[in-house]
């Protein structure tokens, strides 16, 4: 893919934190994510980041899960190469959307767990993840 789409990024906890601050500064999410409360996992390669959301704002991020976390609703897991394309300012075709990446034709991202809250909050979640393009 050409440079037109941007460059690669690393996805350590510091990057996740910058993204979470972007999410919490967003003025649209409190409106469309008012009822988005729950915990999901962002999987990057073998690393799992636990994201705790309340009312469309991220309350907590954690690298790795412990038994005290008592689980999560759903997980979005993809290789860092896929997240790197997804989070570019102009993402390349097939990487511009999580459903595009998860679609059976493309299989770049796996959606695990209870997918009901995933679908219920899809609009707010999509907005939240799209802010990765500003990090």
């Amino acid at each position: 893919m050409s440079n037109r789409y941007g460059s690669r990024k690393s996805f350590d906890l510091e990057w996740i934190e910058r993204w979470a601050r972007c999410v919490n500064d967003d003025r649209i999410l409190p409106v469309i994510g008012r009822f988005f409360t729950g915990r999901f996992v962002l999987g990057v390669d073998e690393t799992e980041y636990l994201i705790e959301v309340r009312g469309g704002k991220i309350q907590r991020i954690a690298e790795g899960l412990t038994t005290n976390d008592m689980g999560y609703e759903f997980a979005l897991k993809a290789p860092s190469s896929a997240w790197a394309k997804f989070s570019q300012q102009i993402p390349p075709p097939m990487f511009n959307d999580i459903w595009a990446m998860a679609h059976p034709l493309h299989k770049q991202l796996v959606i695990e767990g209870n997918t009901l809250p995933f679908w219920q909050n899809l609009r707010a979640l999509t907005r939240m993840l799209s802010l990765m393009r500003q990090v």
């Binding site: 102009i90 075709p93 097939m94 595009a100 059976p104 034709l105 219920q120």
Partner: protein, 318 residues
């Protein structure tokens, strides 16, 4: 001074499979009838820009209708007694298109459809080739799996928001925000279960992989697909077009809803196709001059198909 669109809307009663459907359509222009088919779960508003474009309507009578259950067209009057969920079938869809064209007494119209409206062009070419003079299949291929899924019609999920958001990524991130969100809005307004039921046609009932080669080629088919379409990728369209006689395949830098997500770019992409259709049928063009504007279409390579030497895949860079 008020401003009006030149579009006129009417209702026509269409008979199909023993039932009568009060069907809403909009039209504008004169010349070759160009019947436009909307995507799954939405309605003819997706063609509002083409209906208003004087360069198109100077030569074409552009008509966009809402399928039963969609937009301002009604479901059958006894729909509340149905004992199974709404499912669009290949048979009903193609028969309804033919019945609509006959109800308006259209002679050999051109059909232009996108997404499910593009895929049904293959069914029309297989079964009704004598009814049409050309087919423009936008974002079409012979098999589009993976979309007939329950979350799109579930009582614990907001249908409008999830239906609209699930298709948002099918659009190019470089299409204008205004029009991408207008397209989102059309999707958010569909009836409950209608998008999912249309996807029964799109992902289950319309598998043409073993039938494409039977298309005679009597009716020219133009395939146009945007590079951001993850449901019907450029490769899927190219593979389909290679199997269809008298087909031309154009890949462009856009998404799955070209008529509504980026009308200006779509005009550049479709204008050469419309010019070609006029050249095949010069007597029926409208009274005004030909399509205005220049296209920067560049022919890159020949398809190698013997039916139409010199014509092949074209790529547009902007």
């Amino acid at each position: 001074m008020n401003t009006h669109d030149p579009i006129v809307g009417r209702y026509v009663y269409v008979q199909c499979e023993g039932k009568t459907y009060r069907t809403y359509y909009e039209e504008n222009g004169e010349g070759i009838p160009l019947v436009c088919l909307h995507t799954a779960g939405t309605d003819g508003r997706q063609y509002r820009h083409q209906l208003c474009d004087p360069d198109i309507t100077a030569n074409f009578r552009v008509i966009a209708f809402d399928m039963p259950w969609h937009g301002k067209s009604l479901p059958p009057s006894d729909y509340y007694l149905m004992e199974e969920e709404y499912k669009l079938t290949t048979r009903f869809y193609s028969e309804f298109i033919v019945a609509f064209c006959r109800a308006l007494d259209l002679k050999k119209p051109v059909i232009m459809g996108q997404s499910m409206g593009g895929n049904v062009c293959l069914a029309l070419a297989l079964k009704y080739e004598n009814e049409f003079s050309a087919l423009i299949a936008l974002e079409a291929c012979d098999y589009s799996p993976g979309w007939w899924i329950d979350p799109l019609h579930h009582p614990h999920i907001h249908g409008g928001e999830v239906v609209a958001t699930s298709v948002f990524g099918l659009m190019s991130p470089e299409s204008p925000d205004e029009y991408r969100w207008e397209t989102w809005w059309y999707y958010a307004q569909g009836g409950p279960g209608i998008f999912k039921g249309d996807l029964y046609f799109y992902s289950v009932d319309s598998d043409f992989r073993d039938q494409c080669h039977k298309i005679s080629g009597k009716v020219p088919i133009f395939f146009l697909t945007g590079e951001y379409d993850f449901a019907c990728t450029p490769e899927m369209t190219e593979r389909t077009a290679e199997k269809v006689k008298n087909a031309e395949c154009i890949i462009f830098s856009g998404g799955h809803f070209p008529t509504s997500e980026d009308p200006a770019k779509f005009k550049e992409v479709v204008s050469p196709v419309l010019k070609k259709i006029i050249s095949l049928d010069p007597e029926r063009r409208g009274q005004a001059a030909g399509l205005a504007g220049r296209s920067n279409l560049v022919e890159l390579r020949s398809s190698g198909r013997s039916e139409r030497p010199g014509e092949g895949r074209r790529v547009i860079d902007f």
